[in-house]
């Protein structure tokens, strides 16, 4: 009798239920936790992602279990009704915010509230550099297609090149949710690695003379322009590309909160409390999608490799476009700011600043690089909208 109880208990523990896949995924989550906590790789995102991955792979806990719904005929009315027989796991319900595409736009609202579009308004030409860097997305999309990924999968992998976490997760949740885990890990790891990936590419494609170009100071931007900007961009982009509305609309409403000067409380909430709350839910549940069958396959390896390609090409095309602008402007534009067109705000702009200052200590590129940087955010949201239109 007692032995039976012990045996039952043993079979209900995670140790008895543990399979090979679970163990490997737990190890992966430990490595990611190590990278986040000890090495400081985007800890604000990687800690929740890795912990979610760990939780979902502890057997028996069933945190991602789907609810069991029974559809039956109501004996009284004869209508078909659905009845929940078993409720799902905690993370399953939190995951609905990702699945339905709710969390990423909310995060975008916070990003909007944190972003100053002033440098972009002061130098509208820098918008083009933000567009050029999106080539990384599509070259990777082509590469993934060649490797045999389906259209929606290839689109989700390509968007890693946008270097924009929320955009990548939004598109993936809509097109290829089974790839969320690997894509989130690839996107956020490479974003943390921007200062390592970008400088060699930037230096290889430019001469020291080009890198030392000191750019003219940006003109001051009036409050009126900053207030009108989010409104006009939302109307313009949404009318042209309705599928980009969730991302661009939320980005711009956050920005409007910031710039009106009258909605400071809303702006503060969007860029602090709200974005933090949503990031916790998003990170934990995205991590939780990384089950052994979704993660431990050749696809993950290809996604990680393609993600790096996407980042590198985005940077390279941005810099090359910067070189064209350098030539056309008669040497007034420093081509390094093109690399900031991959969105990763503000990391990519800081890298441009750092590389520029190495070449010429008097160089101050940060604000100039912020223009293409924030344009890159809009650019990758538009690219996501296009891919969503084709494959959604």
């Amino acid at each position: 009798m007692l032995m039976e109880i012990f045996a039952d208990f043993w079979y209900s523990t995670g140790f008895a239920l543990m399979e090979y896949g679970h163990a490997v995924m737990l190890l992966v989550s430990f490595v990611l936790l190590y990278l986040a906590i000890v090495k400081g790789f985007e800890p604000l995102l990687l800690v929740p992602i890795a912990f979610g991955m760990m939780l979902a792979n502890l057997p028996g806990a069933n945190l991602m279990k789907e609810p069991l719904v029974e559809i039956m005929r109501d004996p009284a009315t004869g209508d078909l009704v659905s009845k929940t027989k078993e409720y799902g796991g905690l993370l399953y319900y939190l995951y609905q915010g990702v699945k339905l595409g709710i969390y990423p736009p909310l995060i975008f609202m916070g990003v909007g509230a944190m972003t100053d579009f002033g440098p972009l308004i002061a130098n509208p030409k820098s918008v083009l550099l933000g567009a050029a860097a999106q080539f990384g997305i599509f070259v990777t999309f082509l590469g993934a297609t060649l490797l045999g990924f389906t259209g929606p999968e290839a689109a989700s992998i390509g968007i890693i090149g946008g270097a924009d976490g929320p955009t990548a997760l939004y598109l993936t949740s809509q097109l290829a949710p089974h790839l969320l885990g690997p894509i989130a890990v690839a996107a956020y790891s490479y974003m943390a690695l921007v200062p390592i990936i970008q400088p060699p590419i930037m230096k290889a494609l430019t001469t020291k003379e080009e890198r030392s170009v000191v750019m003219e100071q940006l003109r001051p931007v009036s409050k009126k322009e900053k207030v009108i900007f989010p409104i006009i961009v939302t109307v313009l982009v949404t009318l042209i590309l309705p599928s980009a509305a969730p991302l661009v609309g939320m980005l711009m409403i956050g920005n409007l909160f910031r710039e009106t000067g009258l909605t400071e409380r809303l702006s503060k909430t969007a860029q602090n409390e709200l974005i933090n709350i949503v990031t916790i839910f998003l990170g934990v549940t995205v991590g939780a999608t990384a089950s052994a069958e979704n993660f431990m396959n050749f696809q993950t390896v290809s996604i990680i490799a393609l993600g790096l390609v996407a980042f590198s090409i985005g940077t390279a095309v941005g810099v090359l476009f910067g070189k064209i602008m350098y030539k056309l402007s008669g040497g007034k534009v420093n081509p390094l700011i093109g690399s900031a067109g991959v969105s990763a705000v503000p990391m990519a702009a800081r890298v441009a600043q750092k590389v520029g200052q190495e070449a010429n200590p008097k160089n101050f590129l940060l604000m100039h690089a912020m223009g293409p940087n924030v344009a890159g955010v809009i650019g990758s949201a538009i690219a996501a909208g296009m891919l969503l239109m084709f494959f959604g």
Binding site: G130, F141, I232
Partner: protein, 122 residues
């Protein structure tokens, strides 16, 4: 578009999408330019323009005495010497008509401090 795409279809997606990205961003860029030409920012740039006023230092002994105890003659001598040195000419060759203090938006120290902070966070 279906799930399976051929390379040709993928190329079309790429070309069309990049085209739209460029067109939309160029439109945004033009709109910003339009905003500027509408004179939306007129008022504020006017205020930001530096105001130039000549204030002769000589014959203002009372004002100088109130603000600082620096010997005016000596200050003029130092400034003259510095200008002569940086221009590479002899002191008698330059003729200083007026010296005025310009309000500095950011000091050198502040600028360096800012730079160090930015470098420190990278």
């Amino acid at each position: 578009m279906g799930n399976e795409v051929t390379m040709g279809e993928a190329l079309i997606v790429t070309v069309v999408s990049m085209g739209v990205v460029f067109v939309v961003l160029i439109l945004i860029s033009l709109t910003i330019g339009f905003l500027k030409s509408m004179g939306v920012d007129k008022k504020e740039t006017k205020g930001a323009a530096p105001v130039k006023q000549e204030k002769p230092v000589k014959n203002e002994k009372t004002a100088a005495a109130q603000t600082s105890e620096v010997d005016e003659e000596e200050l003029i001598a130092v400034i003259t010497a510095a200008i002569a040195n940086s221009l590479g000419v002899d002191i008698p060759e330059i003729n200083i008509r007026s010296i005025r203090r310009t309000p500095q938006a950011t000091t050198v120290w502040r600028e360096i401090g800012k730079q160090e902070q930015i470098m420190g966070r990278m």
